[in-house]
Subunit: 476 residues, 2 copies
């Protein structure tokens, strides 16, 4: 019955995160370097994320499919920038069925190459376009420094791959899916992401342009939480994805790809969590309401449990868990479910039965301020409203935190000061690869994405006039 | 606009199957030997299978999780029989991140070893039991002869892995999941499987006992369509999965595992398909109803399409597709959707609009006998009833086909005659590994599973008295 407290976020944010992931039973280290086991509680959260995204993909006309895990090594080399980006990260199968393979197979790090090969076979005419396919899959990237959910050798994701007849259509798709990601992040996960285009340095290997959603974690570091790539005709040319247009001319397709991964679970943990543990947004929480029966004597138990059953029935529209474990104190159970981030707790004791009331405790507001006593009658609506309130409140709080930690900078000194311990810097930026590299080297801050801008201003770094603004921050 | 007919089943069953899978766009060959791409239509069927199974798993108390794809090679060798069974089929990762690995990793062919390792870590006391976990995953087995869905290097499946305090509980779990599989197969897929225990020769490598559901395909061959294994304490001993019992004694757990894969899609295709193409059971069909508008002139089109929209709205509770493609004849469309096995077709033409009727065509009854004209009013109920009727009728037909092709045999000569071209043989069997091997060698028929039996009889092979009966058939 371990009751040891988590390290506080202040004390050691990284250890707070690691221990929280383990102790809340979201995930565990696997016996293979850098790999994780997603435990049932973590996977249930991922399933809810999947549903919320999948509904949005289907509503925007996409369908799911499944492409092979193993890709001939030669495929990876067909797109020049792609191979440069991914070659150092590949896991390679050299033997199968007891024999050495003629050509090694790589475990997919992403599927542009294998999917491109199939699209070249399937697409003949403009009538076959657009192709709007997504897959839910595992991928492997041989990372050196790993952290549960944020960066693991194997991770789980969805990767959308689309092919279009025109550049314009492909660009619209890239932007549409970025919007879908932002809508999901903000409205389901209460993670107030910022959308924007990545710099040339930070874009996907093989893309013409990469867009991302960027989230601010509780330590003010940035986490890239989803990306959408406009691939131009790069992969179409490398994989010969062509179609006959309406004038019977053979043309290369324009393609896109976009992905969100189990990394997003890390975003949820570090956006909302506090020193007591996880705080999960009600729309995605595997358990939305936990009911803790409270009694001492046996005759109280029968009375209380009867009421618990009644309340649970009234709450059947929600994801409810009754914690009827024997031999544990209510206090222990409260801590346990606080650690696990269940948004709402209902306590039912003999007095509640007598008075026809329930004690509610909001996870997002610790202590007395988050407690209320409500009539048992009409509790379905009360709980529905309360969950909505919590969801909205998490978003408001996270948005305020984010905005409080973004600072306009006008000089490099100011930027250094901001990214060192205050948060994100945003400023006028005369775009330049070398200066971007210098800033990264000197401050460990990277260009997260370009920021919306109007007119012109003076670059904080070079003093030159520019029409671009950018966010800089240290990131995961 | 290819309109070439499929080979008939009579002519070439194997080619009928291969071409049907490709032309219905269920799957395609991948550019890696023995691998497949599951195309959107096939994956949508798999998603419906997943939902039907997952609901049943959750209703019986199971939760989902995700364990690593890559397993240290040494893990595979810890259970003696397991390694013998799987060693010849492994794909091996020897390089990662550009370097040779100290210990090679195998791509999971099944996950008893890696999951067993985690259970040993998680399970301490009887209070932690039972552990009832499932994962939806891809696995790789280096098969030499492959066939789309039936046997591919990579396939998709679920694998349940449970740990229990007592032998009895584990045996009950093994049987419960076999029942779940049979219930799914019969009531969702209309595939009338037979449940039974496998022989020692045919059981899972490392199991104490394997049970399977066996389905009869349209060519009367058998297809093992799902398995449930009682693993005894074999894996608990190999991976040190122990718990403190209520008397504070350290005990090994009793474990089970069970799986159904994308192979089941092959079972559906070959149970119900006819010479025109697929026939999908309504409960699992990605498209349950296809609406084909029929018109010649433009003024007819407006009239018809208005009615199509109205009907589609009335049928919003079903999975409905409107085939409004231009430039294709209704006849072409009918063939197309027949090939794809959509259970019910609705035709709406100008006369139907005038008369307030719809023309329905059942996929399972070709030609005039399957056609009916029904009032447009109340079509929601009509369609619901019709889909139920089709579902029931598919099961009845498949059950009759199965029962018509199972023959009691009393001698080896009779068995040879039956399995050669008539179907499955069932008879008294004095269990013997060597005789089983001889029958397989001489007839290519394998012992599919033991059959229910009462009392004693005379073994068809040895003439000895026995209390066991068994099914023998050629299989996939």
């Amino acid at each position: 019955m371990e009751e040891k407290k988590l390290p506080s976020r202040q004390e050691n944010y990284s250890e707070w995160y690691n221990q929280l992931v383990l102790r809340s039973e979201m995930a565990d280290y696997a016996p293979v370097r850098g790999c994780m086991v997603v435990r049932p509680y973590g996977w249930a959260l991922w399933e809810n994320i999947q549903k919320a995204l999948d509904n949005r993909f289907k509503a925007t006309g996409h369908v799911n499919a499944a492409f092979p895990l193993l890709i001939p090594q030669s495929f990876m080399t067909k797109e020049k920038e792609h191979v440069e980006g991914f070659a150092p990260e590949l896991a390679v199968v050299t033997h199968g069925g007891g024999e050495k393979l003629e050509e090694p197979l790589v475990v997919r790090p992403t599927s542009e190459t294998i999917i491109g090969t199939m699209y070249a076979k399937w697409i003949q005419s403009y009538r076959d376009l657009p192709v709007l396919v997504n897959q839910w899959a595992n991928v492997v990237r041989w990372e050196m420094r790993t952290k549960l959910f944020l960066r693991t050798l194997e991770f789980y994701w969805q990767e959308g791959h689309t092919a279009h007849a025109t550049e314009q259509e492909a660009i619209e798709e890239t932007e549409r899916m970025l919007d879908v990601y932002a809508d999901f992040a903000i409205n389901e996960a209460a993670v107030p992401v910022i959308k924007g285009r990545k710099s040339e340095t930070e874009k996907f290997a093989g893309a013409k342009a990469t867009y991302s959603i960027e989230a601010m974690m509780g330590d003010t570091k940035a986490l890239q939480s989803g990306t959408s790539h406009f691939l131009g005709q790069n992969f179409a040319q490398a994989f010969d994805i062509k179609f006959l247009d309406e004038n019977n001319q053979l043309q290369f397709c324009w393609t896109t790809s976009w992905g969100i991964s189990t990394r997003f679970i890390g975003a949820i943990i570090m956006t909302h969590g506090d020193d007591q543990g996880l705080i999960l947004p009600p729309r995605l929480a595997p358990i939305q309401v936990v009911v803790v029966p409270i009694y001492r004597k046996d005759e109280e138990k029968a009375l209380v449990m009867e009421k618990v059953e009644e309340v649970t029935k009234a709450l059947s529209a929600f994801r409810v868990k009754v914690d009827a474990r024997e031999g544990l104190t209510p206090g222990f159970k409260f801590n346990d479910w606080e650690l696990k981030g269940v948004p709402l707790r209902i306590e039912i004791g003999p007095k509640d039965v007598q008075n026809g009331t329930l004690a509610l405790a909001r996870r997002d507001i610790p202590g007395r301020d988050g407690k209320s006593f409500v009539p048992m009658a009409g509790c379905t609506q009360t709980v529905a409203d309360m969950l909505e309130t919590i969801q909205a409140s998490l978003l408001t709080k996270a948005t305020k935190f984010r905005d409080d930690h973004i600072f306009e900078v006008e000089s490099y000194e100011q930027l250094k000061d901001v990214v060192n311990d205050k948060g994100w810097a945003v400023g006028w930026w005369s775009d330049d690869r070398e200066n971007e590299a210098k800033i990264k080297e000197e401050t460990r801050a990277t260009l997260r994405c370009y920021a919306p801008s109007e007119g012109e201003g003076v670059c904080f770094f070079t003093g030159r006039k520019t029409n671009k603004k950018a966010y800089f921050a240290r990131g995961y």
